[in-house]
Amino acid sequence: MRPTARRILSVERELPDTYTLEIEPPGSDWSFLPGQYTMLYAFGIGEVPISISGDPSDATRIVQTIRAAGAVTDALVAKVPGDFVGLRGPYGTAWDTKAGEGRDVLIIAGGIGLAPVRPLVLDVLNHRDRYGNVTLLYGARSPRDLLFADQLQEWRGRFDLEVLITVDQAEQTWRGPVGVVTSLIGRSSFDPDAAVAYVCGPEVMMRFTIQELERKGFSDDRLYVSMERNMKCGIGLCGHCQLGRFFICKDGPVMTCAQMAGSCWIREV
């Protein structure tokens, strides 16, 4: 429960308000599963849950992508290599990669939601022979807001991964699709009767994405989402992140739609 002080190895600016920190792991046996998060503590300011965005096969660093959106995250992205942060975790449930084995895999991300799914994409690519068609659909606000743009470019060059990107608004110089991420679903190749979908982004985006996937024939036990709530303790004690009968910090953040049984679409919840 107590954070350990960890040294920051590097800080990279991804977007004007979004940075990726590489942090020294607490020990050589430290590991995480795709979809998990840590609690990062800016000393004297506060603690926030941040998804791990790095390669799960690389134990030499903990990679976390942070959007500056408040006092704690502002302080975290202002760190420089050599500074220290407090770290707890990893916490939470992981993307169930076993569920996707032998099947087509559809990964759908919106905005900074690409950060929590990047470890999943990397893990799937590390074990590419275990999966059928693999598709990544990514929606962002504008071409300037594409996260991990270089990596997206690299992934688009692969023959074993289909990457489709759309933006909500664009200048006329943009050559790609403009529209919501759900508009890409009909353009990708997967077998809806057998595929598994992993979705991460703003809740309203996930809601419409799930509706569209269900319309295409996905069953809710093959639809995984990463839920975000105001997590505080990270271990299911404080109740800050309660969603119906779940504590998202412990029972989530990754859950199937079947597990949630629609509870995230209830306005009061």
């Binding site: 200048e171 982004g201 309203v204 419409f208």
Partner: protein
């Protein structure tokens, strides 16, 4: 015309319609193509046709004094471009720019209306399908308007 019919019967939009109905609709249709960089229609111009994209990509753009030309939406294979032919004042609301070479079926709006009036069942079927496309597009645009990524952390 039979070539158009052969194309239309294989389009998901016409799935479930009888051959006779598709043949009737095909009477209002022609196969057309547009080169990359060309313009299918321009904002303010007379709106007579609607297009079902068979291949290629089209960007709907809106020009404003403040923001220049902005792409509002792109449309792709299997999607329709252009609804302004349906209701007065029959003028386009956007520019339709060809992003990549387009092959399409061009439907003549006034002819399609006549065909629909002559066969109300067919007219209702077409209208119901068009409405579904329009509603889905409107829902999508609503999400776009929410600018959901701007505050997501």
């Amino acid at each position: 015309m039979s070539e158009v019919f052969d194309v239309l019967v294989n389009q998901p939009f016409f799935a479930g319609m009888t051959d006779e109905q598709v043949r009737a609709v095909a009477k209002s249709a022609a196969l057309v193509s547009f080169d990359e960089g060309s313009v299918i229609f321009v904002e303010g111009g007379p709106a007579r046709y609607t297009y079902l994209i068979l291949e290629g990509d089209v960007a709907l753009t809106l020009r404003t004094q403040e923001h220049g030309s902005k792409i509002i939406q792109t449309l792709h294979r299997g999607e329709f471009v252009g609804w302004s032919w349906m209701y007065p004042p029959y003028r386009w609301n956007f520019d339709a720019n060809v992003q990549t070479d387009v092959k399409a079926v061009q439907f003549d709006g006034p002819k399609l209306k006549k065909i629909s009036l002559a066969d109300p069942e067919l007219g209702y079927t077409m209208m119901r399908r068009f409405t579904e496309v329009i509603v889905n597009r409107m829902q999508a645009l609503r999400i776009q308007l929410l600018d959901v990524y701007s505050t997501f952390r």
